[in-house]
Symmetry: C2
Subunit: 127 residues, 2 copies
């Protein structure tokens, strides 16, 4: 039924182009980890730092700012001394946790297969 229109939004390929765009935002390591850790409860800045091994001060800041900008994370400042800042997922952020956990499930399920494929590939390519 579709005429010769190349930009059919119901085309799964178009959808995957849209995904590519969003993946660029939320698809990096740190973003995924932050969302994962905030999915259960709100956390303070340093608590996130401790929870996510290897993340630098700077990257956590930038990641949180990005998530905040996308409306996925809410930042709450308590005017105490010393200052305290809580980060929690917004409703929109919560809605992301399900797709991500599905992906996480796939990742942990298929991790062995992937790693064995890598070893095989590397072995073939080593000689």
């Amino acid at each position: 039924m579709q005429p010769s229109n190349e930009t059919d939004p119901s085309d799964p390929r178009q959808e995957c182009l849209a995904l590519g765009h969003v993946i660029d935002r939320i698809g990096d390591k740190w973003t995924v980890m932050v969302v994962g850790h905030l999915s259960t409860n709100s956390l303070r800045f340093n608590a996130l730092m401790r929870a996510i091994p290897g993340i630098s001060h700077r990257m956590l800041t930038l990641t949180l700012r990005g998530l905040q900008r996308d409306g996925l994370v809410k930042r709450t400042v308590f005017p105490t001394v010393p200052p305290r800042v809580d980060y929690e997922l917004t409703k929109l952020g919560q809605s992301l946790t399900e797709p991500l956990s599905i992906l996480a499930g796939w990742a942990s399920r298929e991790k062995p297969s992937i790693e064995s494929a890598q070893r095989e590939y590397d072995a073939e390519n080593a000689a």
Copy 2:
């Protein structure tokens, strides 16, 4: 039953750390797009080039090699003249399309919300 072991694999936080690792491989724009386009049928190199706007020759090569190494894509060479190479998802690769399409669904559903949040954030931060 778990002792004071901090690396409990059933902990959702541990799972999200595993995700972070895998996301680093499959979570980039081009990889997602390639998998998306291969989800319906196998494609040749240049067909993928044309299907994915903006991808460079080099990035397509590297992306495909990575997917191949992970065992997600199978490369088939036809010894014809001119040479012809088909790329198709393996079974493992097929199994990834469902989680990805769920994520893609979320992305296209929530895209308006995200963009409006961004506009709001930028407006607040512009002044």
